[in-house]
Symmetry: none
Subunit: 212 residues, 4 copies
DNA sequence: AATGAATGAGACTTCATTCAT
DNA sequence: GATGAATGAAGTCTCATTCAT
């Protein structure tokens, strides 16, 4: 608002770059330590940026954390939606979205940790954000379940409940993998997929061959 | 009932009584605030016990929290097992365990909050305890699913995965209720039950009538 | 003052015995940990006596510590005096007192630790007690040095200063042994003895043969 | 001089200045109260620096104490070495080092208290530091005694033992002054000097005249 | 004589945030 | 844009001492 006009664009670029670096570092630290145990200092240290510098870009630790969450959730939702979009049937779409998430989280433990558990360590102010993020994921699934019902591919179900149940099931598998070295989401993907499709009365292609 | 802790001390189990009072107060505070935001002072204040007195009974805030979790988890697991024991078929048993948990949590938000979310705020040292507690619940369900498979009531399934999925689904419903004022677990119980039974290939009695 | 008269003697005995046990335990703990780091609890634990029981016999941790010091100092001073008394000449007497202390401390690290260093950890209230104890030791030596001067065995010296210097020298040797695994006081006894005798103008018997 | 720390901050060595101020204040408080009874708060208060500010410069009370000791010991050792360096003979050098220490301590009770006694109140972790500091002082003396022996000025002696004995004698005189209002080290210097020189078989110039 | 639960003052340390430079 | 010294509010835990039994 008060910078030199000439440098506006160039510095605007730089600004965005620094923000990205901070978000990246913050994601790593938050994932490792959880919100509360993550130190603002440590985030700065990772990218050799002073605390003051960090506070220039983000007004508070809380805002920074939310920004990290939003950024990651956006990426993951996009992936899920894209995966769903490539399918022919609605059931396959829901199924594909689920698989995409499981596969992506399998590759990025950090992402999994931040989205699934580390937020809680923020205390009760996390509630709203969690709701927002999980609702978005639930929506992705619900949309396709609703279509499937409309198409008559699956019987009537409480699609809101079903999408939450799917999400919860997935969440538990992921957390069990993160916290107890359970099987990776990727390994469970087929079985879980079959299980969840069955729960809404669908029969997946995998049902007959992948895991007899 | 008011003032110093009753002063009828030194009976043989006064000690146990005080421990219980502490655990009760701690459960309330931890449920409200989460591990980290809970103050040891506040726990003491609730029962007019000095900090020192509290530390006489529990060596650290962390141990106190774990004790709270254990106590609550024990109660809940017992209830679930008892509910399951009253059923004729294995499928009904698993189903009953699930319902019992949903109903109990519906009545005790505090219990739900502590077991489902507030632990994470402790940081990474919570991992082990969470694993332990969730494994116990998963076991309760798995046992009955295994029986059902053995009886031929339901087709072969990865019962470990299924029990986790059930747990996760339930967890999500509960958290959604806690954090976003979603429908209470009790309200969802029938539908969720039907959904989860279907997921393992069983057909519940509810299937035909409860939700036409 | 108000006990049953008949039991007076018997219980008086018991009382003294318990006091001794406490003093013994306290000496051990204070020697190991220093005044401040010694816990009243730990002293009690050693002899399976509750804190309350301990406080029945001693009014405070501080008093207990002083009692320990007094008891040990008494023993050591007695030994030194006795050793000195067995000698013919005054110079030999002073010398013998010194040796006795060095030898005794060599055998009892605990004693050495308590008398030489651990008291300081009590804070400034230790000053008076230290003065008292060290003065007693200095007196033992000074008396004999004064006699030696009077006898003309050694030239005039500031015997007060000399006795303190002796004490200090001895103290340093002991502390160096305690803290840095230096040679034991016993090993140094002859050389130190020669050194200190020379410092007051005396020539010890050891001078010519023990260390040629 | 009043209010916030001068606000002319951020020159390159402002940091070092603050460190010095802290060390100065800490030396005063530790000397007065001993390690344990010294409050971190009081150190900060003396220089109007918040506790957090203090911890920015020193990671713990213990480290701060050690830094204080090191700083003071360095100064004193330097003085002693310099004083020794100005002398012609080795015996005079050792003697001069001793006198310098006695005189300096006489002028700075605080210094004396910290180096001689207050450290012990830290508990057993002080052992190592004490050893280190006293060894340095002993070295200063020993070096010159060794030279004197090599020169033939004094007979063969266990110079390690002798230097410790000297140190100990000096220490006792100082502590007696500090704790019991005994004569100041400065007053004792000549006599003590004579005594110690005699102990190693040297005859000082002072011998004949300073104390007729 | 002894127990041991309870007190309570207070210590050290942490860390998100600010702000002069 | 960035630095980093400084703030200050809190937080957990300790432990000598007391006192009802």
């Amino acid at each position: 608002m008060q910078g030199r006009p000439t440098l506006a664009t160039a510095s605007s670029d730089q600004r965005e770059k620094t923000r990205e670096r901070i978000l990246e570092a913050a994601a790593a630290v938050f994932a490792d330590r959880g919100y509360h145990d993550a130190l603002v200092d440590e985030i700065g240290d990772r990218i050799s940026l002073s605390k003051g510098g960090l506070y220039f870009h983000f007004p508070s630790k809380e805002e920074l954390f939310f920004s990290v969450i939003d950024r990651l959730a956006n990426k993951l939702v996009s992936k899920a939606e894209k995966a769903a979009g490539n399918q022919d049937s609605s059931v396959d779409a829901a199924s594909a979205a689920l698989r995409e998430v499981l596969f992506t989280l399998s590759r990025q433990k950090r992402l999994a940790r931040i989205l699934m558990t580390q937020g809680y360590s923020m205390g009760n102010s996390f509630a709203e954000k969690r709701t927002e993020v999980f609702d978005r994921f639930a929506d992705v699934i619900q949309v396709h379940l609703d279509s499937a019902v409309a198409e008559g591919t699956i019987p009537e179900v409480d699609s809101r409940l079903a999408s939450r149940a799917w999400l919860g099931a997935m969440n538990e598998i992921v957390v069990h993998w993160l916290y107890s070295n359970g099987p990776s989401p990727r390994e469970c993907a087929d079985d879980l997929n079959a299980l969840l499709l069955r729960s809404v009365g669908a029969v997946s292609i995998n049902e007959s061959d992948s895991r007899s």
